[in-house]
Symmetry: C2
Subunit: 348 residues, 2 copies
């Protein structure tokens, strides 16, 4: 089917042909998936659990740049960002639907790369692809993923239930995805100025992977069960720590103190931030796309999480009247402001 | 907030501002909606029922033309096409998520129009808007809707379970949406050639509404319960009768005979088809976007549906070996072929 350049035109397949072609590689892994791709809708057996439903859309030129984003990574990330939302409810992902709009600029081989990433994420996170929509766009690539998940009602964690004196914690480290993006953008500019220049990405695998192939912290959801900890509130960090902390505080009608020196940063993030003459804390506070979890726990659970290498206590919940504060080096107090990644402001 | 032209720029609101603004008008109507907009995900209590999950994406320039599509109608239609998929499983819609990507070409007022249509559909179909994503695009408008629905497992109707000798039926009439589109396209061309020309749409309300403001046949799902009829298979007609009949036959491993003269057509559809020198049957067979239901019933249910003004028997299921046939006027037999609306072929 492919021509001499190994490229198969989507026109040759048609929409139904493309769907059939892609559906061949899909196998069902979850008992709750009663019916997957191939009918008007998917069918899901929820059992006695509560259903979690979330959706995210990625737009070419806004959320990703195909100059430096491999399509397989993009497919992987599109799934992971949704699974991360399900995690943030303390639930386990089970099904996704994937809708894509694409122009004839993309060949079948390109779409297969994208789906290889989608299927790899499904495999790694034990999630079933159960439906979607495949359509054309006039220029760019748009991916819209919806994820479902389940948990017992008593285990669900909202962002609106943090209480005064709770400890505020994050998983992993922050700011890496943002520095990875800055690095990719810089090397793109260099390459555009002189096509003979090779991108200088060496020694920065970690921050590049944070940007291009993030992971959802499903391991933390399991860890909570093992440690018998139920967070009092939780959110995933897609828009930067500041913005997410403010979401929890506004939803829960509380304030918070976050200690800047407690914010976990990887040494590659710090090093690259210095190279770019950016304060590394700013990367964590405003960078976003880390897909770590920000959560609060009751102080009685302190001993259960203390010293766990996956979790860092960065502050605590205060009263609403005290506001949302960042305690900087030398005890300088700043009001926490959301300079989160705001696509409507930044990109148009 | 609006300027002297009554236009509010989206930049002034930002993404979170826009979401908050839009969420204000959302009220929850279904008991099964445990948590709506405002957290990482929505929460749904499925009770003992089976969950239906479906998604559809509409792309500007591919699925709609804003020259003649009012934004309110577009929002309405984006929801309805998903509810129609839930109907086609014999289930009742309960929640939707809506993701939109839009450029700064759109003002807040424009987006409010779009959401007014979305909310009207939610009201008319008793569906809760429980989440979504709002992001920017570089040019066009993209809307991706996901719908959930519920039914008892025993009531679910798939497309893969039609049996030989079953009757093949459709609801309403077909081809109207396609003729509405042809009319709108013609008047757009006339207007582009001479801006002083007023569009000539009079007397064609029905076919225009079929195109611009289709409805999902939730009434038929209720009717089936009243009549104590469970279809043996069902699909909604989004791509034209031929394509949908072939879907049922291929999924069910059967053939069919459809009688051309039985296909229900509205007089406006017939009239406009003649004006365009198109065979009206072709509009029904290949036009699509009618969002009627194509279903099969066991012959024993014939008396229950016979004479019902909402339902027309157009043929019957045969063996796979007999193939999928259209019996034309004068008993001329054609093989049924899918010339369905194939966006990948038509639009690039």
């Amino acid at each position: 089917m492919a021509n001499s350049e190994g490229r198969t035109e989507l026109e040759e397949l048609g929409e139904f042909g493309l769907i059939q072609h892609l559906a061949k590689h899909v196998e069902i892994k979850n008992k709750s998936t009663a019916l997957g791709i191939g009918d008007d809708a998917a069918l899901i057996n929820p059992g006695k659990k509560q259903l979690v439903l979330t959706t995210d859309m990625l737009v070419e030129g806004v959320h990703f740049d195909l100059t430096y984003t491999p399509l397989k990574h993009l497919g992987y990330k599109a799934v992971v960002v949704n699974i991360s939302d399900v995690c943030a409810m303390n639930a386990t992902s089970s099904q996704i639907t994937v809708s894509i709009a694409l122009s004839n600029r993309f060949s079948l081989e390109a779409i297969e790369e994208l789906y290889a990433g989608i299927m790899l994420a499904c495999k790694n996170y034990n999630v079933d692809l159960v439906g979607g929509d495949t359509t054309s766009s006039l220029s760019g690539l748009i991916i819209s993923v919806t994820a479902t998940g389940f948990a017992d009602k008593k285990d669900m964690v909202l962002r609106s239930t943090a209480k005064e004196h709770d400890l505020m914690c994050v998983t992993g480290d922050l700011g890496g995805a943002y520095m990875g993006l800055q690095l990719l953008e810089r090397e793109k500019t260099v390459f555009q100025a002189d096509e003979n220049m090779q991108p200088d990405l060496e020694g920065n695998d970690y921050i590049l992977e944070r940007q291009l192939k993030p992971e959802a912290r499903t391991d933390i959801i399991k860890l909570f069960k093992e440690l018998k900890v139920k967070p009092t509130s939780m959110i995933d960090i897609s828009d930067g720590l500041s913005s997410e902390a403010l979401h929890i505080c506004h939803s829960s009608d509380v304030g918070c103190n976050i200690y800047e020196e407690k914010i976990p940063l990887d040494h590659q993030t710090i090093q690259m931030a210095h190279e770019f003459k950016i304060d590394p804390s700013i990367c964590a506070l405003s960078g976003g796309e880390d897909y770590e979890l920000l959560f609060t726990v009751n102080q009685k659970d302190h001993d259960k999480i203390k010293g766990n290498p996956n979790i860092t206590i960065i502050g605590h919940i205060t009263s609403k009247a005290e506001g949302c504060q960042l305690i900087g080096k030398g005890d300088v107090v700043h009001e926490l402001t959301a300079q989160g990644w705001d696509s409507l402001l930044k990109k148009n």
